[in-house]
Symmetry: C2
Subunit: 280 residues, 2 copies
Amino acid sequence: MTLHAFDDALQLTAQGSGQYQGLTSPAWWNMVGPFGGVTAAVALQAIMLHPERLGDPISLTVNYASGLVQGAFAVSAQAVRTNRSTQHWLVTLSQTDAQGASAVVLTATAITAVRRDTWSANDLPMPIVPPPEGLVRTHPPAGTVEWLNRYDMRLVSGPIPSRWDGGAASPDPALASLSQLWVRDDPARTLDFAALAALADVFFPRIWLRRAVMVPVGTVSLTVYFHATAAQLRETGNGYLLGQARGQAFCNGYFDQAGQLWSAAGHLLATTHQLVYYKK
Amino acid sequence: MTLHAFDDALQLTAQGSGQYQGLTSPAWWNMVGPFGGVTAAVALQAIMLHPERLGDPISLTVNYASGLVQGAFAVSAQAVRTNRSTQHWLVTLSQTDAQGASAVVLTATAITAVRRDTWSANDLPMPIVPPPEGLVRTHPPAGTVEWLNRYDMRLVSGPIPSRWDGGAASPDPALASLSQLWVRDDPARTLDFAALAALADVFFPRIWLRRAVMVPVGTVSLTVYFHATAAQLRETGNGYLLGQARGQAFCNGYFDQAGQLWSAAGHLLATTHQLVYYKK
């Protein structure tokens, strides 16, 4: 039985307390290095595998210091503080170059927590959109980046521009950089925290939609807040999630994006934000 | 000449490469420990003071591992990766207890960057609200937490409930946990990155507004994306900023909040998110 491509990318070999070795996967390749979502998932996976982990992830912030090169990487995940119901983590990914020098390629912080049943509410109800079954799957053009083939995406609104003519998508700022899509792993895979972290990064760069100009970009920081328990994620199964993202401020080389991921049943599973470099 | 209370809280004594010693300030006291905004500002200040800093902050994420107790704390700020135009930081704050044991009370990651002039845009225009001069300053009731006296706040919408009767503020989920206010340091102080980081945390807990129930709360993670250069902050001077915050998901003990801070001229200076513990 072959491993699912996502589980393959998440394979880490323990090498001591909180120290792991991993290997980049060609199945997840982006323009430069692996898809940022899968690298965020690897950082989280080091915590998930840690024998001293308390509770489940509630917050993850990943800063991308450099694109990963193909090959091995080292992960260090340290619980720097353990409270009664919360635990605070520092994670770094490093790679060793041909000269034997090790360099940090990613830093992350995370919080895991034991949750209790409390009053709960959702102030961002799922937008009313057509169900995924009635929508056409968006097939990336041949020759584009490999990781796009790892997801079944069905666009609802805010497509990648078909003409790179510098025309704004919408004169309304609330819609100008908004995309909505149904998405799930392909092949289907039961949802867990690592997969949800990766899904938080599936949106194409908002600035491409906003400007219809394909400027070079790269995410520098990604935060995911998890609003579901492990049991709730399992209950979501391998169904489609509705993802929504929009740009906020675009200023002198960096823009930020706010996003949400709902289960098809309308549960807001995660909210996410990222800061993205753009060249011009 | 006495130091401004904010500058006083930010005083750090260098003790070696990236190592600093600080002291909590009674002027900034919250329920348990100092106001989280000023502690975030201290973490950023350690980076601002670092002799090897490259560029200005674009992103800061602070995880609160514990309330600080009154007294001394140690700050460690390390540049773990320096690229051509970006630099990646790990910061920890620690305190030593009566038994001499040191414990981490805060972790942070940040990115500083040298910005270039590029195409820029704002997809979150400032809401149209009455100017601060025409609004009454919100004076905290006598005996409430001290740090509230450090800000001149003028509420536009979404006040702290006057009756804690469990009644939701609004049946519309888009408004139920929304607050807007004008805010500036008191005494006035020219805006900088540290002050902006602190201002990102001035909003009272969204769950109090949402439920009109005063449940115990505590921010566990705060992210600030800076969308302005140091020069743009200086140009803002010591004027009021318009702050806006709303809750997103409230689930099993944790809720998240998204916020924005505009200059009075309508420049979106920062976007911010936080995850907050609530007891029930």
